[in-house]
Symmetry: C2
Subunit: 157 residues, 2 copies
C-alpha cells in the first residue's frame, strides 16, 4: 500500500537534530557555521515546497530582510548540503533544479504538469523492486528517483 506523506518532517526529524547534524558536518570538515548557512537550512526546513535556488533566495530575503544574503551563497550552501546528502535535488524537464531537505526520508514524486505542484509518496513494493532490479543487472544502487507526471485532482476540474 502506498502512503502519502503529508507531515513527515515533524514526525521524523526535529529541527534541533537537523541543525546539530549540520553543525557536526561543518566541524568535521573545518567549515564555519555562519548565520547565512543557518538561515538557509532553517528556510528549507520550514518550507513545504520544493525550492529552486532562486525561490529559496527570495524567501530568505522576505523572511530576513535585514540579512543581505547573496544568491551565490545560496548556491554554494545548496551544493554543500547536497554533497553531504542533507538535501536532494530534483531535475525537471525544463531548466533548473528544485531542492528539498532530507534524503533520509526517502519518497517519490507526483508532479502536476498543469500547476507544477508536487505530491510526495512512498511505496514499499516499488522500493523493493528497484533494489532487486539493480542487483539483477549488476548495479550497485546508491540512490534512485521516480517521478510520475500527470494532472492533479484540483487541475482536473
Amino acid at each position: 500500500m502506498s502512503k502519502v506523506i503529508t507531515n513527515f518532517k515533524d514526525k521524523t526529524v526535529e529541527y534541533e537534530q537537523l541543525l546539530n547534524d549540520f553543525k557536526s558536518l561543518l566541524k568535521k570538515n573545518s567549515l564555519k557555521f555562519t548565520i547565512q548557512r543557518e538561515v538557509i537550512l532553517e528556510t528549507l526546513y520550514n518550507s513545504d515546497e520544493h525550492l529552486t535556488p532562486e525561490s529559496l533566495h527570495h524567501l530568505i530575503q522576505e523572511t530576513f530582510p535585514d540579512l543581505k544574503t547573496g544568491i551565490a551563497t545560496v548556491y554554494r550552501t545548496l551544493l554543500l548540503l547536497e554533497d553531504s546528502n542533507m538535501v536532494t535535488s530534483l531535475s525537471f524537464g525544463a531548466q533548473g533544479k528544485k531542492y528539498e531537505l532530507g534524503a533520509k526520508n526517502h519518497h517519490d514524486h507526483l508532479i502536476c504538469t498543469e500547476c507544477g505542484c508536487i505530491t510526495e509518496f512512498v511505496d514499499e513494493e516499488i522500493e523493493d523492486r528497484q533494489e532487486n532490479i539493480a542487483n539483477e543487472l549488476g548495479f550497485k544502487m546508491k540512490d534512485h528517483s521516480m517521478q510520475i507526471y500527470g494532472i492533479c485532482n484540483k487541475c482536473q476540474n
Copy 2:
C-alpha cells in the same frame, strides 16, 4: 521479472516507419521536411547512446561533414521532437539534458554515477504500481520516469 532492453529499436520501430511518422507530423503542422531535420532524426536513430544536444551536434558534424548544421537547429529540432513525443529527455543531477528516441518503447533507466553510462530496463510490476498509485492519489497519470543511480558493473572493478 524485469527485462533489459538491448536492441529494442530494431525490434519495434523501423527507420522507415519513424521517418514517415516524422513526415506526417511535419505535414500536419505545415512544417517543412529539411535535410537537417532528417539528419538529426537519423543520427538519433543510429545512436545507441543517450545524446546531449552538444554530442548530437558533434556526431552530426562528424558523420556529415559537408552539411554545416548549427547547434541552434539541433536544439530547435529536439524541442520539436520532444513536443511531438518522438523523443524523450532525461535530466541529470548536473546540467544539461540527454535525449533518446521513442517514447513508445517505454523503459526506465539505471544511470552510473561514475561513468555516466545508462542501462535501460522495463519492469511490469513497477509499471503497474505506478498506475495504481496515481489513481489512488486522484492523479491522472500522463507519463512517468524512473532513474536508479549507482555504480555499474564495469566501474565496480
